[in-house]
Each structure stands twice: as C-alpha cells, then as structure tokens.
C-alpha cells in the first residue's frame, strides 16, 4: 500500500472519526482506523477510512493518488494527531513490512505501528438499503432539540436515545417525522415536515430508537461533510435508510451506520398533558435569566426552584438551608388561580434553550402534574417537565 493525499483532506476525515475510536474498548484493534487504498479501472485512486466501536461505524471515501493498493490499520489517535501537525500540503503513506506504516510529508518522516487489516471487524454492508433524502439542517435541528433530554444513565438503555417515528402512510401528512426523547423526568417531542418525502418513510416497527452516542457522531458528520464548509455533501441534504436493526445516514462520501437501541420506548403520548387550565405567558429570555440567577443558591445537582404564580405575577425562588434564599420576579401574563410549583431549574432552562419563540407558554394543571412548555407560535415542539415535590 502506497498513496499520496492532501494533509487537510485527511485531517478533516480523521477528525470526523475520533469520537468513535476514542471510546473505551475491550478490543485493542478498535482504537485503530482501517485504511484501504484502491484504484479503479481508470486508474483513479481512492482512500477508504473506516472506524467502528461495533455499535456505531463510519466509513468515508477520499480521492488520492494510489501508487499501490493495499490495506492496513493504524492507531487512529496517533495518526490524527500527527496529520494535524504535518507541514503538508501533501503526505505519503506507505505500508512497510510487519504492518509498519511510513508517513512522510515535507521533511518529516514517521513510522506508525499498525495491525493487520484482517483482524479488523467487518462493517455491515449497506448496499441494499433504501435511502430517503432529507433536509440536513432541519434533521440536525430536530436532533439538537431532543438529544439533550435523553437519559445518560446506562442502566436505562431504552432511554439512551431518541425515538424516531415517521407519520404513518395513511395519515394526513405522511411527510411528517416525529422525534421524542425523555430521561423519565422530562420529555421533549418535536415534529417537522420534510418536503422531500411526500410518501413518508415506512418502518416495519413503526418507530425506532436512535442511539445517543451515534447521534453525536451524526452531528459531526453532517458538519464536516457540509458542502458550505468544504465537505463532500450535495446541497443541504442527507440520506437516511434503515436495515434490520441499523440506521444508516449518508452525506457526500461518508456513511454512518449505527445499531438501533433494542428496547421499548415508553408510551410518551400518555404523559403529554392535553388539558392544562393554568397558562402563563412569559418572555423566554426573562424566565431563562431568572432561573440562572435563582439557581446559584440551589444546593445540589437537583436544583429545586419554586415558581409562585399569581395574576400577572411570577416569582421564582430558591431556598437552601445552608446558603440562604433568593427570589426573583418575572413579568408574565396570567389570569388563572394561584399556584405554587417546584421544578428542577436545569430541566426548565434546557427546555427554554431549545425553544425558538421569543415568548413561551407554561401550561400547568396542578403542582404534582407535568408542566408543558411551548412556544407561543410553535405547536410542533413540546417540552414536558415533571415537577419536584418539596
């Protein structure tokens, strides 16, 4: 194996894969990256890089000059760190005996200890997958607005991801896609229409759970392959497909596959409040600022803050027996009965940060039932937060 490639080109590709190879792994070879250099019939060379942690795998193709085809695996971290500081503009990579790999650029000459490509696990083949084209920005925004609410507690693996639920084919608008995430204490549901799929997406199971860690990689991929930023993608689109227990996302020359979470997502529809008689209208920024101020006195990671709501009056308060207490008044529009309710400040702040509207509605039933936060003009993005009992 012997090829030449542009240093920045390879550096971008490698940085996209770091998240996958850097995870702790029991198999040493998984911290390596699979490097395959090949030439087609016309003599055009291409470099294929693959990384996997067995749950999430990424494969990207770059053009390069191939002197001699071949394959090897090299330590991903060392290669990426080295490429980042190589003088460039080009570099050559050559496999020597004993899986050693020689890297040369300008006056720099290095040798990396590789491992045989034969030992590298085979990535699933996504050739026969049906792909749907989606607006990449819109899709990424949905992920942004849901991923934060998913659970990081690995013992709750069915919540370690985002529910992806295409509207049924027979529905009014099959081009709608729904995403839902919850950690059991708060929940977010968002739906968006995708013009590119007038007939919708059909899934055997009706819905799937996209894994949290894979979605992190997806964001990186969409960013690096954004054509506006020099990536290989075409326009503002991505392709998504499903195969057995995998979801595949492709943008430009890069394909990301991830194993779906095999678990039952809780019945989220039943916890979204439908009738809330107490509706408070608040400027989103005002409440966010107030929460920031008030929660400085919160005792621990659970940051209980109390909202006392009266006619056109909201007082956000926090009291901590060890530190003191603080109250903060927020102008609101409210005409219902007085109510006092406590929330984890972070849950409210996260929800507020994910909403786009200038003004939001906080809809409450009583101080033990979930509260609903929505934008004034936006009905397709709901944040549900369970209150705290003080």
């Amino acid at each position: 194996m012997d090829f030449r490639i542009s240093v920045p080109e390879l550096s971008r590709a490698l940085s996209m894969m770091q998240g996958i190879v850097q995870r702790k792994n029991t198999m040493p070879i998984l911290s390596n990256i699979l490097v395959e250099a090949e030439r087609d019939a016309d003599g055009n060379g291409r470099l294929i890089l693959s990384a996997t942690d067995l749950d999430v795998g990424m494969r990207t193709v770059r053009t390069c000059d191939v002197e001699e085809a071949g394959t090897v695996t090299v330590p991903a971290r060392a290669l990426a760190d080295m490429v980042r500081v190589l003088p460039g503009p080009e570099m050559s990579v050559k496999k020597l005996a004993n899986q050693h790999v020689e890297v040369k650029s300008g006056r720099t000459n290095a040798r990396l200890m590789g491992l045989s490509a034969d030992e590298y696990p085979k990535l699933p083949n996504y050739e026969e997958v049906t792909f749907y084209t989606l607006d990449a920005t819109l899709f990424a925004d949905m992920v942004d607005k849901t991923l934060y609410a998913s659970s990081t507690d690995e013992t709750r693996y069915n919540l370690n991801g985002v529910l992806f639920e295409p509207a049924p084919k027979q529905s009014e608008d099959p081009s709608m896609l729904v995403m839902v995430a919850t950690d059991g204490h708060r929940l977010v549901r968002i739906d968006r229409r995708f013009e590119t799929i007038p007939d919708g997406i059909t899934l055997d199971e009706g819905s799937v759970i996209l894994p949290r860690k894979g979605l992190g990689e997806l964001k990186r991929l969409l960013d690096v392959e954004d054509p506006a930023k020099g990536g290989t993608g075409e326009g503002d689109t991505l392709a998504i497909g499903f195969k057995e227990n995998h979801v595949v996302v492709r943008r430009g020359n890069t394909t990301l596959g991830m194993r779906l979470i095999d678990g039952a997502f809780p019945d989220y529809k039943q916890v979204i409040p439908t009738i809330s008689d107490k509706v408070v209208r608040i400027a989103r920024g005002d409440l966010a600022e107030s929460l920031k101020r008030v929660s400085v006195l919160a005792a621990d990671k659970m940051q209980p803050v109390k909202l006392s709501i009266k006619e056109n009056e909201l007082t956000v308060g926090c009291s901590n027996p060890d530190a003191g207490e603080i109250v903060d008044d927020v102008p609101v529009e409210y005409a219902g009965d007085d109510i006092e309710i406590a929330f984890n400040a972070r849950y409210l702040s996260d929800a507020l940060a994910s909403l786009d509207d200038r003004n939001v509605l906080l809809k409450l039933t009583d101080n033990l039932s979930p509260g609903l936060l929505v934008g004034v003009d936006e009905t397709h993005h709901l944040c549900v937060v369970m209150p705290m009992r003080l």
């Binding site: 709750r156 919850t182 708060r186 916890v271 406590a342 369970m386």
Partner: protein
C-alpha cells in the same frame, strides 16, 4: 442518694466479640479457649475468648506466642463480613435505645442516653435491660459503662468485664476515678506513664490533686488534658455515626442455588429488612444493586437507578427481578445480597417521574408502617411474609435470632 443525672452516656463494649460469635455459632467451642486472628506467620490475635485469657493470650499478641502459651486453644481465622453483619444487629439494638449511637468499632459504641430516665427508667436499669436484650436476641455478652461523660463511660465498661455493668453516678466522677492507675487516662500510654510516675503521680486521684499549672509546665498540653480527665471533665459529645451511603443485606447460603425464582425467594426477606431500615432512617433509595457471589467466589453486581426513589420491599423486589434478568443465575451461587444506594432523605425535594407508577399506594404504605411498629416492638421476624415462612420450614434460610424476646 446521688445527684440527679444530667448528660448520660453509655459505653457498650461487646465481650470477646469475635470469639463469642464463634462460640455461639458452634456450641462445641463453648468453654474452650478460642483464639481468633491471623493464622499466618505474622498473624496477631484479634480476640481471645475469656477461657484463653488465663493463658496470657490477649488481643494484639503475636499468634506464634498465643500458640506457645495456649497450645490446646482453638485457632480460627476471622470471618470479617459475618462479624460486620452481627455488628449491624448489635448496633440495631442500640438504635432502639438511643437515636444517637456513635460506633467506635464493630464491637463498641457510645450511646447518648441523656433525658431517657423519664421514658426508660434509671440508667442502670436501662443498661441492664440492654445487656439482657443483647443476650436474648443475639446470645452475646456485653459490658456497659454508664457515666456523665464519654471518657468515664469508656473506663467504666472495661472495669468489670465480662458482663460488667459499671455506673459512675453524677457528682462522683472524681471519686470514681481516683483509685485507678494513671494508665487509665486517655492519652497516657506506656511511655507517658513512666514520665507521669516520675513526677510522683501513680493514680488518677494523684493527677486530680496536682496543681494544673505545674502539670502543664511539666507535661505541656498533655498535663492540662489529663488534669481535666482526672476531674471527669470531657466535653466531647456523643456523635452519630457517619451517614451511610447505602443500606444492604446479604446472605451466604448453606447450599449453592441457581435460578431466578430461587434467588428472588432468598432476596425477599433481605429486601424486607433493607426496606425497613430505609424507613427507619427516613431515607429513600434512588438505586438498587443486586449482588451475587458464585461458588468460585467470583463476585458480580448489577444495579439500576430508579426514576422515583422508594422505601418499600415490593418496589425493591421489582427492580431486583429486572436485575436478575441481566445476571447469570445458572451458575451456582453461594451468596445473594442487595443494597439500596443513592439514599435521599424522605423529606428532601423529590423529582417527580413521568412514567413511574404513582407513589406507593396508601394501603401499602400503611401496611409497612404497621409492620415496622410490630417489628419495633416484638423484634425482627415477629411478622414475616408467608413465602418466607415456607422457606424457613424447608431450612433454606437461617436467621440469627430464632425467637426474639419481648423487651420487657
């Protein structure tokens, strides 16, 4: 008639704790010199039974010397985890007498008994009842010192071992201490004792009668310290033991078991006791851990964090059932156990859960409360699950106390 009690401190010291447990569990060892400790070349004696002491065997003695001095002794390696379990049972009894128990080690603790006379009667009677209760429930002896301060209580408990009950009534502290040798002063070891004796002081009474300024000039801060002690002045309060991070229970099995249903049957009574302990401490568990040890001593744990913290056995068992599904139970097990962790105060703010079932139904909560009261009054095992009863009959389980006595 002595002065009325102000502060009351008990120091309870279990007699030859490890050795006594061994003798209790193996009746053939009763009356024999039992020596528990490291049996290796450099081992030392942890505890010697009272039968071994006439031979000059005491704790901290090198084991080879113990063997020389008492060749007919029964030498045993300590069963640490088991002693700790028995210690928990002992401490649990202390807990019935005082909310403020300060354990010093597995086998001794201070109890703050201030203000208990009206409720429990004179301290010496209460102490005697505590001794009887420990004997009846655990078949173990304890010596108790009763005094107005920690220091004297500790000295007192050691004066008449075993089964000693020594009271230093209020106002008589100085007289009580006076005849004792200076080595009984806290902070006076062998080397210091030589220095103090050189000053012409051999009893605590001598120290009490000495001029404190002279003592201080001779012995620096130690001088003031021992002068205070000699007068029975010890300002230290009984402090509650460190907050526990988890509450657990486990059982080493007489015979290896396999299979989820057998394991859950064994866990049920353990979950009951953990849940009761949680309620007693007014704590809720935010997580539940399953612990199993395989026949080859490999230990495995599995845990789950809960959406809403719990303090009842059924909820804990529900989680344990899920954890069992994630654990290899086909391989023979020699121990099963559980722990409740991520403890939060019951009164602390609680994050509600979107999906967890509503908090414990009122009925169940009320039943738990009644069970706790019965257990409080009649002791552990007075009321048990029927399922537990079945197993008892088949001899799968053994409890420390067969029939706890009614505390009278």
């Amino acid at each position: 008639m002595s002065a009325p009690w102000g502060p009351i401190v008990f120091h309870v010291d279990m007699d030859a704790f490890y050795a006594a447990i061994e003798q209790r569990d193996r009746p053939t060892l009763r009356g024999q010199p039992v020596i528990v400790g490291g049996l290796g070349a450099r081992g030392v004696v942890s505890t010697a039974s009272y039968e071994a002491r006439p031979f000059g065997v005491h704790s901290a003695l090198p084991m080879y010397l113990a063997r020389q001095r008492c060749p007919q002794g029964v030498f045993l390696t300590p069963r640490g985890a088991y002693y700790a379990e028995v210690s928990r049972q002992v401490m649990a009894i202390f807990g019935r007498y005082s909310p403020t128990v300060e354990p010093l080690s597995l086998d001794e603790a201070f109890l703050d008994m201030t203000g208990t006379e009206a409720l429990m009667g004179p301290p010496e009677k209460t102490a005697a009842r505590l001794q009887r209760e420990i004997k009846a429930e655990l078949d173990l002896d304890a010596s108790i010192g009763v005094a107005s301060v920690k220091y004297i209580a500790k000295v007192a408990s050691d004066l008449h071992k075993p089964r000693g009950l020594t009271v230093c009534p209020p106002g008589e502290e100085r007289a009580f201490l006076a005849p004792l040798p200076i080595e009984r002063l806290w902070g006076v070891g062998k080397k210091t004792a030589v220095r103090v004796r050189a000053l012409g002081l051999s009893t605590i009474g001598d120290v009490a009668g000495a001029d404190p300024r002279w003592l201080e000039s001779e012995l620096k801060s130690l001088g003031r310290h021992i002068h205070n002690l000699a007068h029975g002045r010890d300002a230290r309060m009984v402090e509650r033991g460190v907050e526990r991070k988890s509450i657990g229970a486990e059982r080493t099995l007489a015979q290896d078991v396999t299979g989820k249903s057998a394991v859950l049957d064994l866990l049920r009574p353990l979950a009951d006791s953990v849940a009761a302990a949680l309620r007693k401490k007014e704590r809720l568990a935010g997580g539940v851990r399953l612990k199993v040890k395989y026949a080859d001593f490999q230990l495995r744990t599995r845990d789950e964090k809960l959406l809403a913290p719990v303090d009842n056995a059924d909820a804990i068992l529900e989680v344990l059932a899920r954890l069992c599904d994630r654990t290899d139970l086909a391989t023979p097990l020699r121990l099963v156990g559980l722990a409740a962790y991520d403890l939060v105060e019951r009164q602390a703010p609680q994050q509600g859960s979107l999906f967890a079932p509503a908090p414990v139904p009122q009925k169940r909560g009320a039943l738990d409360a009644v069970l706790d009261q019965v257990t409080e009054k009649f002791g552990k095992g007075a009321v048990r699950r029927a399922s537990h009863e079945v197993h008892e009959r088949f001899g799968d389980l053994q409890h420390g106390a067969d029939r706890p006595d009614d505390p009278s």
